[in-house]
């Protein structure tokens, strides 16, 4: 794959745009605007993926991020300290350390990129990335793909458990206690006092 001049120019513009919007995320006054800047950064990276002929991933990035950043903006409104971003907002701690660590990470990773020798094995000429990805997803790597799906389902269950206020046996904040077998009786299914002591002595 030999990129044309237009591709190089488009990459330069998109790269500058991705870094600029990524940096603006942390220095805008409104948290909603910050989430839209993050969306722009993701879209620039998705466009770069399309330039790299990974069309499926680039388009998936657009769709996923468009939805994800809308949800993010909603949460931003809920947790916003500074409505409408009318006042200057800078809520940071240990900023100096954070800047130093960020710069160090950038320098070290760039040094790795510049100094190491990576194998030069570009895409074959007749390669169709989307077809090969589809065959991989539903072929050799199906287990990985399905595992990701199951983990997403687990996440949904976990999120509902974490964010629901009431548990099965009452308010989740109080700690759960199953009801008694008869009204006002001992909680069912709990080890009794002496039983607990007994197992304790065994150790």
């Amino acid at each position: 794959m030999t990129p044309s001049l237009g591709t190089h120019i488009a990459f330069g513009v998109l790269a500058a745009f991705a870094v600029l919007t990524g940096w603006r995320v942390f220095c805008t006054d409104s948290m909603v605007r910050a989430s839209f800047f993050l969306l722009l950064s993701f879209i620039a990276v998705g466009a770069i993926m399309i330039l790299l002929t990974a069309e499926y991933l680039g388009v998936a990035m657009f769709c996923m991020m468009a939805v994800e950043m809308m949800v993010m903006a909603l949460f931003m409104v809920m947790f916003m300290m500074n409505p409408a971003g009318l006042n200057p907002m800078k809520m940071v701690h240990q900023e100096r350390v954070a800047i130093v660590v960020g710069v160090i990470a950038f320098v070290v990773l760039s040094a790795v990129a510049v100094l190491s020798e990576f194998p030069d094995a570009p895409l074959p000429a007749e390669h169709v990335p989307t077809i090969s990805l589809g065959r991989e997803l539903l072929g050799d790597s199906m287990l990985v793909f399905e595992t990701a799906g199951v983990v997403l389902l687990t996440t949904m269950v976990g999120v509902v458990v974490l964010s629901s206020r009431r548990g099965r046996y009452g308010c989740a904040d109080d700690g759960s206690m199953p009801p008694g077998l008869e009204p006002g009786g001992e909680p069912a299914g709990q080890p009794s006092e002496e039983e607990g002591e007994h197992t304790h002595h065994h150790h």
Partner: protein, 101 residues
Amino acid sequence: MTLTTLLILAAALIGIGLYGALSQQSFVMLMMGLELMLNGVMLAAVAFWAFSGTGAPEGQLLTIVVMAVMAIEMALGFALVVAVFRAKQADMTEALSELKQ
């Protein structure tokens, strides 16, 4: 557009994200830093796939896995933020100091 420039761009995104994750006080802004870091990781994975993997489809698969990780991180992160806010009325990292020495 070479592998080196793509990796430098990914490094820049990871650096900015690391700065955000370390410096922001609000939980949700901190999570945006994490997302930006994952953005750089995905870009690096696609760059390696395109330039030094002879188009092995596992490279694209890795990006899809990172996307799933990103979705999970965001969903669980927001659920935890909501749960912490319910329990402590806290939406800043400073407000949680129970594990502090």
